[in-house]
Symmetry: C2
Subunit: 318 residues, 2 copies
């Protein structure tokens, strides 16, 4: 199948691209390289089945023409910066909501109906049911990031009803692994590299979070290509476990061989809008035959190892 992948040079995007290519698919990548990295596409770039367009999803003309001839779209490009939404309230609207509308319209212009989209467990806000199923009680949004992804989900779903699109919407937990470029493991490893004697932690460290290894995430994307839904299908994607931020810190420190004094900023949440407990019920995607290969701990350790072996990711100017 010939696939159009947005955010192809990003952390998740480049992993998905590699996995799609290894399955024999053709891939047209699209990325503005604002957070994406050329280096992540080094292997893909050697294959004749891969083509890359540098472009911005706000440029509707170039988006439409780059997408021509593809059979399905994997839309992964996003402002994935949950934490700093309040500093730039327009960014999630523009980079997530408006950009997704542009992707949908480019698909319509090209007669493409199959879409795979990366939404987020953040759309559950602070849920009351754990593990949280896809049909949890209608949540209130607590972050602009979650709100913008929910806006995307809504438009995609309406395009399925209105224009006969077939969309798989994934609600991801936090993803980690090779090419990881932001998030708590990144922040902690970088901080500990600068000063291994102390580590400052947002919140009380008791926040309970789920993480998923990027390889398992890419497997899920590849798998659902064989399960085109009637209309829209929403699938949680995560492991069946969660850990405390403090657990994760312990694994990171052990892997790095450091023993810092931990300073907790305090409070139940890491930041305003942070959800103190994320644990998704992933029964629906498991019923399709998907299982994660790595535990959260193994995923965290693999991420630490990757960051240690690829210091340029953390210190691009070094």
């Amino acid at each position: 199948m010939k696939l159009f992948v947005t955010g192809a040079a990003g952390f998740i995007g480049s992993n998905v691209v590699d996995r799609l290519l290894s399955e024999g698919h053709e891939v047209v990548g699209f990325d503005n390289f604002v957070t994406g990295r050329r280096e992540f596409l080094e292997n893909a770039g050697k294959l004749p089945t891969f083509a890359m367009t540098k472009g911005d999803l706000l440029d509707t003309e170039s988006l439409r023409s780059a997408m021509a001839g593809c059979e399905a779209v994997v839309h992964l490009a996003a402002n994935a910066d949950v934490r700093f939404g309040l500093d730039h309230p327009g960014r999630d609207l523009e980079q997530n909501t408006i950009v997704t509308f542009n992707v949908l319209e480019a698909m319509r212009a090209n007669g493409i109906k199959r879409l795979i989209f990366s939404s987020t467990g953040s759309v559950y806000g602070e849920p009351e049911v754990f593990p949280t199923p896809e049909d949890a009680p209608f949540p209130l949004q607590t972050s602009l990031y979650g709100a913008s992804k929910l806006a995307c989900e809504g438009m995609i779903s309406a395009y399925c009803t209105g224009y006969g699109f077939q969309a798989t919407i994934f609600r991801f937990v936090s993803i980690l692994g090779e090419r990881y470029t932001h998030g708590h493991v990144f922040d902690f490893v970088r901080a500990l590299r600068r000063d291994p004697s102390r580590l400052r932690v947002l919140g009380n460290g008791e926040q309970r979070k789920s993480y998923l290894y990027v390889g398992d995430c890419a497997n899920a994307v590849v798998m659902v290509l064989d399960h085109p839904p009637v209309g829209v299908d929403v699938l949680n994607l995560g492991t069946d476990e969660y850990c405390q931020v403090n657990d994760s810190i312990g694994w990171i420190c052990a892997r790095l061989g450091v023993h810092p004094a931990i300073e907790h900023a305090g409070g139940e949440r890491g930041w305003v809008g942070d959800s103190p407990f994320i644990h998704l019920n992933c029964g629906r995607i498991r019923a399709l035959g998907w299982t994660p290969s790595l535990s959260i701990r193994q995923g965290v350790e693999k991420t630490v190892d990757y960051l240690q072996a690829n210091r340029w990711v953390m210190d691009p100017l070094a």
Copy 2:
């Protein structure tokens, strides 16, 4: 209180403005007069407590300055055209989602934190629980209109978490009554005026819908001003009953004294994305002390009477 009302010249907006003024509030109205009517503000315009700005909510500068000095915002302006979303897929995004972001940013710039917003029962898509409560199972969107209003709800809710806003989000059923300018009663009355011998009905006429009288809607808006929530409060707003489209047609025809042959287009839905059954659980707002004064039938009849007495609303050039 000094209130900023968007869509002030519209059907619901002008009724809310009149009600707010009659309660002794000061009102600054804002409208681009694309669907709003100067005539609807005739009474308001005579009062010294009312001021009107003609402006577009996409013009962020004029929005911000018009809002200055107000204590709360009632944001009613919207593209309320549920049915034709698929003909103009960008309109709901622009007129509902982006415009609401502009309102939120103008509030933030002016230090205003209290917001009352008109969302819609359409955000429940095709619900499985009736009457549908605010915390119904997380729905799938079936219309671009519903999706755009859900996007607004999400942003508003995130502004409450992130910036300390206090927002009341109403999920309206279809509203009818004086100054009604679009919707099924409008369409039917206009069609029957042209040809009282026959009436073409979208769907099989068995769609079950809820309607609320605009005076009861305005009462609810005024009432919640006295109930500022902590953060965000979502309130369904409708009657505790529903009717079939066929019931409504019967009431309209009786009121007009016509006996048309009814031609059903057939199918469960009036159009793609139409919800065949809308019936909201309004226990939450009733618990605050609100009750509707008119039944659905009374509301429909009042609307017919208004349209009969105000033919200029239906035939602006006549």
